[in-house]
């Protein structure tokens, strides 16, 4: 055994090296914890979160044309769209639109399939609920977007 490794072993250089790493990481600027309700994570534009049905901002009409493509694309078959043709405008209009959030895995295939800009997975991530009841979203809830419970005074 040559001298340097031997000395290193006797003086426990390997252990000291490790100790110095943990010691240096104690500094305040290394800390990465986010204190969640106070600090909120940055969510990027492509994030696939809570689904939303978009409405035409000027008229408030739903952009959905009841083409049923999203329901066909969904691997979990959790979207049910029912519509009927309005004889006046000759356009299909939504009768019921449900989205079962409890089974959704946020793969984004529905939004990709949407032929208009109606269905979109938004950047809202606070979707937790206390029971499964509220997890089947109807058209109104989807257009409204999530309303997370806030525990502020």
């Amino acid at each position: 055994m040559s001298l340097t490794p031997f000395l290193g072993k006797v003086l426990m250089v390997d252990l000291v090296k490790g100790l110095s790493v943990t010691f240096h990481n104690q500094s305040e600027k290394e800390r990465i914890t986010e204190q969640y309700p106070l600090e909120r994570p940055v969510v990027f534009a492509r994030y696939r979160g809570q689904p939303r049905l978009n409405v035409n901002p000027e008229t408030g009409e739903s952009l959905c044309i009841v083409c049923n493509l999203c329901a066909l694309a969904c691997p979990e078959q959790l979207i049910v769209v029912k519509g009927e043709r309005n004889p006046a405008t000759k356009r299909k209009e939504v009768v019921s639109w449900t989205y079962d959030l409890s089974r959704c895995m946020f793969c984004g295939l529905c939004a990709e399939a949407c032929s208009t800009d109606a269905l979109e997975l938004t950047q809202d991530y606070e979707m937790a609920l206390y029971s499964r009841e509220g997890m089947v979203l109807d058209q109104a809830a989807l257009e409204r977007g999530p309303e997370p419970v806030r525990y502020a005074k």
């Binding site: 252990l15 490790g18 100790l19 790493v21 943990t22 010691f23 990481n25 104690q26 290394e30 800390r31 990465i32 914890t33 204190q35 106070l38 502020a152 005074k153």
Partner: protein, 429 residues
């Protein structure tokens, strides 16, 4: 009444020496309370320091910077359901944590926090501490055996083997220190107070004595004591990744918290031995180089000042906390805590108090360094395997301990040896 109190305070002896039952009781109560508070503080500090090493924040929600977290946990543990497994040996299961806690606390009987701040000055103090602290293993075996479950059994068997092995190395290292007390002054002692006095008389802490012999003995002890208290990297009896929780797997609630209490007080106890034997106990640092009344005064101010610095840290913390409504209670709490620390610091600056208290401060400060080391090790090192642990104990520490012991004896007796050799050589001539 007041007179007797003052008389005792002036006497400068421990309650044991004074033969005062009353004062002994008071001391015991104070020590039990103090150790419990220290364990609570350790709990918080360990979480915080470990978290910071792991680039986390640690507890932040219960109280400012999680200061009340240990209390919240203690409350939770107290009101938890008390579970005794159906197939456990109930009596043994019940008594195991009691044994462990009792032994852990009993060791503090002879720990000298200062010249007069020990319950008694036992003339076999070191032996007493070693003996009692090794009784703790009994409780661990009881816990493991009575749980009637595989993981606790393996944990307790590991623990017993480990503690017994490392006690040997530990004992050798202690003998080195005891040997050093008998040098120069000529009278060896096993009394904890006597050992510190010997260091005072010899003008050096034993860690620096016969460099590097004292240091080596200290290192042997420092490693053995980590193993003795089942802490990382020797925490095999409770290795959570292998044995779930080791010997206390089946324990919950208050019984579990007793194990916790015992573990931390055992850490404090062995650190106290280390401090007493090698780091000059309650003696202030640089007692021989920086001597004189001015230095004495300066060092006696340090306890109070350090509390004031901590208080200032707290106030700084209140300023840096986020200024929002939800955090107001926390800010106020931190401010109050800072004020409390500041008040303690000011009290410690009073002339009457500071002389009596600085011994305790230095002792506690040294023990605190060891506690930090414990946490630091835990944050850094992987865990040894059982056979490797035994190898370190028997094949590394034991020979080093023996060697240091023999060398210490030889170096200490060099004058006598020289004389003897001269006599022999002279005789033959």
């Amino acid at each position: 009444m007041l007179e007797s109190v003052l008389n005792y305070l002036k006497s400068g002896v421990t309650p044991g020496e004074a033969g005062s039952q009353l004062w002994a009781t008071i001391y015991i109560v104070v020590i039990v309370l103090g150790v419990s508070i220290a364990v609570i503080a350790m709990n918080w500090l360990e979480r915080k320091i470990l978290a910071h090493m792991q680039i986390r924040l640690g507890p932040m929600r219960v109280g400012p910077h999680g200061l009340l977290q240990p209390f919240a946990d203690a409350l939770k543990l107290l009101i938890k359901e008390d579970i005794i497994p159906a197939n456990a040996d109930k009596l043994v299961f019940w008594s195991a944590p009691v044994v462990v806690t009792m032994t852990a606390f009993t060791t503090f009987l002879v720990v000298p926090f200062g010249r007069t701040h020990a319950v008694t000055d036992m003339n076999i103090g070191v032996l007493f501490m070693l003996g009692i602290s090794s009784l703790g293993v009994l409780g661990i075996i009881m816990a493991g055996w009575s749980s009637n479950s595989n993981y606790p059994l393996m944990g307790s068997l590991r623990s017993s083997a480990q503690m017994v092995s490392y006690e040997v190395a530990m004992g050798l290292a202690i003998v080195c220190a005891v040997l050093m007390t008998s040098l120069q002054t000529g009278t060896g002692t096993l009394s904890m107070i006597g050992i510190v006095e010997a260091q005072n008389a010899q003008g050096t802490w034993f860690i620096f004595k016969f460099f590097p012999l004292g240091f080596l003995a200290f290192v042997v002890f420092a490693i053995a004591m980590v193993a003795e208290t089942n802490r990382a990297p020797f925490d095999l009896p409770e290795a959570e990744s292998e044995l779930v929780a080791g010997f206390h797997t089946e324990y919950s609630g208050f019984r579990w918290s007793l194990f916790f209490l015992a573990e931390y007080s055992a850490m404090l106890a062995v650190s106290s031995i280390a401090v007493t034997l090698w780091l000059g106990g309650w003696l202030r640092p640089f007692a021989n180089t920086l001597s004189g009344p001015a230095w004495d005064l300066a060092f006696s101010l340090i306890p109070g000042l350090s509390f004031l610095v901590m208080a200032a840290g707290c106030f700084l913390g209140t300023i840096r906390m986020p200024k929002i409504v939800q955090m107001r209670a926390q800010v106020i709490g931190l401010g109050v805590f800072g004020a409390l620390l500041g008040f303690v610091g000011l009290v410690l600056l009073l002339p009457g108090v500071r002389e009596r208290v600085q011994d305790i401060f230095w002792f506690v400060a040294k023990v605190a360094c060891f506690m930090y080391l414990y946490i630091w090790y835990r944050g850094t090192f992987p865990r040894y395997r059982f056979d490797q642990l035994m190898k370190v104990g028997w094949k590394v520490l034991l020979p080093i301990g023996l060697g240091v012991l023999i060398l210490t004896a030889l170096v200490g007796m060099r004058q006598e040896l020289h004389d003897m050799l001269a006599a022999v050589v002279g005789g033959t001539r």
